[in-house]
């Protein structure tokens, strides 16, 4: 009797415990299904990401610009400023009272406000948090800005002003 019981038990247990092969098949199946799901999600997400990132990509191609020609800017009066776009970002061309030309980024290095040239004080001021920059070099003089404004190269001729990356 006891022999028979043992035999029956074995046959009952055998199908319940999976062999290493079966376990591998199931693991492979789950891995494949998971990978297919990931691929599917990626195939949905990729066009949506690219769609939403389109303006960013357009701006990137604009950032690649290294030179801007400002037509007729040589007529800019002494002690005044011309705001323009260098690629996507605001920039300023200053014609100082002493006749010197300076091209600078107009984006405050603190939190990105557009800065203002003040001709009386001959300085650059940011109204957002009171940052002050040197109007010749762009160096951060006082207030919160951590870095100087980017200085551009300026070339003046009879038809306009060329501003380029230094």
């Amino acid at each position: 009797m006891s022999d028979q019981v043992v035999l029956v038990d074995e046959s009952k247990i055998a199908p319940l415990t999976e062999s290493a092969g079966e376990r591998n098949t199931r693991r492979a199946f789950l891995a494949a299904a998971g990978a297919a799901g990931l691929l599917y999600t990626a195939a949905l997400a990729y066009p949506i990401y690219r769609y939403l990132a389109s303006p960013e990509e357009m701006a990137l191609s604009a950032t690649a610009i290294t030179e801007v020609t400002l037509k007729d800017a040589q007529k800019l009066p002494l002690g005044s400023v011309l705001m323009f776009r260098f690629g996507p970002a605001p920039a300023m061309l200053i014609h100082h009272a002493d006749g010197r030309w300076v091209g600078l980024s107009a984006v405050c290095t603190h939190l990105g406000c557009t800065v203002q040239y003040e001709s009386q004080a001959d300085r650059i001021h940011c109204a957002c948090h009171g940052g002050v920059y040197n109007a010749y070099t762009g160096a951060n003089v006082s207030g919160p800005p951590p870095k100087p404004l980017t200085l551009y190269k300026v070339a003046v001729n009879d038809t306009g002003v060329q501003v380029s990356r230094a």
Partner: protein, 369 residues
């Protein structure tokens, strides 16, 4: 999977979070409700998926609609912004195509859902409000379609809107006022686009969403209706499966199939953008309404042949009002559970409606020049 296991020993962090949320929102009551929810299984079970498919396509509409909203500009720039979406923004054509295709598929799915409910007589007590809210949802969905069609402001959408607004215009006395309120002036213009836009993205969703919530709540409350043939069977012969997870799994599989069909259609047959609308350019040859408006359009045309002029228009509108009225009010005159004369009449009325819809649609497409 017994109810007793839930409060027991969740010492893990996830278990603690579950308990915290459960104590405040009663998740386990919801889980218990979901466990007891059953879906009948019979030869007509296939039709149970179509409400879910409609819902899924509506969600796709919301999602792709918000994506289009990112770049779309109503008013004077409408056409230019859609041109930009279609040809400049990466995959913009695909998003727009998916929105347009999904809109059409959604109307189709809602129609299938409606006719299956009709022939299964699922509108009978206590589901009358389900039928009525469903009809209202279909009505709003077609206004969604009509208003959305104008938004690109290309040739086709311009003329479709011009012609479409002739229908309210034909209503006696108040018609011209209604039409010009919708149009925002005597002609279809940037003002029309602007107000159709407001309608399409604010007013209609604000009406649709609560109504949809009500419709779905009713489905939860009364469960799936079974067709009369199934109802006639004794209880022990009827089969059902649990909603969680068996039916839900099948439902989700249907959603995945719908998404694949949509992706295929949207990418292989991208939605076209015509020339910019110009009132001075004559209507292009072969211009015709969208398929779901083809049938009423053709019926009006056929009726116009029999009764020319204004009398034909008024007769057409009366006939439509009567037909739609009978259709909407079906739960109130086909009420008996036993299949009597009225039940048979309702059945034939449904067949007649399908026949009329199909026949006029076919004639409509056949006679496009």
């Amino acid at each position: 999977m017994t109810t007793k296991t839930i409060p027991a020993a969740p010492k893990t962090a996830a278990g603690a979070v579950y308990d915290w949320v459960d104590e405040r929102l009663g998740l386990s009551e919801l889980a218990a409700f979901a466990r007891h929810k059953k879906v009948p299984v019979h030869s007509q079970s296939f039709w149970y998926y179509w409400g879910g498919i409609s819902l899924f396509l509506f969600l796709v509409q919301c999602f792709t609609g918000v994506l289009l909203l990112v770049y779309y500009r109503p008013g004077v720039e409408a056409y230019e912004s859609v041109r930009q979406i279609t040809f400049v923004m990466h995959f913009g054509w695909l998003i727009r195509s998916a929105h347009a295709w999904s809109a059409n598929l959604m109307i189709f799915a809602i129609m299938v859902h409606m006719f299956s409910v009709y022939f299964m007589k699922a509108y009978r007590k206590p589901r009358e409000l389900g039928w009525l809210s469903g009809m209202a949802l279909l009505g709003i969905a077609s206004v969604f379609g009509f208003s959305g069609y104008l938004l690109p402001m290309d040739e086709l959408s311009y003329f479709a809107t011009k012609v479409g607004l002739e229908i309210p215009n034909a209503i006696p006395v108040i018609g011209p006022i209604v039409a010009s309120m919708l149009r925002g002036g005597p002609e279809v213009s940037e003002f029309t686009v602007q107000r159709f836009f407001a309608l399409h993205v604010v007013v209609l969703p604000a009406l649709f969403l609560p109504l949809l919530g009500f419709h779905l709540w009713l489905v939860q409350r009364y469960g799936n209706a079974v067709p009369p043939s199934e109802e006639a069977k004794p209880n022990w012969e009827r089969k059902s499966i649990p909603f969680m997870p068996n039916f839900l799994r099948k439902d989700l599989a249907m959603w995945l199939i719908s998404l694949n069909v949509l992706a295929l259609l949207a990418s292989v047959f991208p939605w076209a953008l015509g020339k910019q609308a110009d009132s001075l350019v004559p209507a292009p040859p072969g211009i015709h309404p969208e398929w779901y408006f083809m049938s009423p359009f053709e019926m009006l045309k056929l009726l116009g042949n029999v009764l020319p002029g204004e009398s034909g228009e008024i007769a057409g509108i009366l006939l439509f009002t009567l037909g739609i009225g009978l259709w909407v009010l079906i739960p109130f005159y086909d009420i008996k559970r036993e299949s009597g004369q009225r039940a048979r009449a309702a059945h034939y009325f449904g067949l007649l409606a399908i026949f009329a819809l199909l026949a006029t649609t076919v004639i409509g497409y056949w006679t496009i020049r």
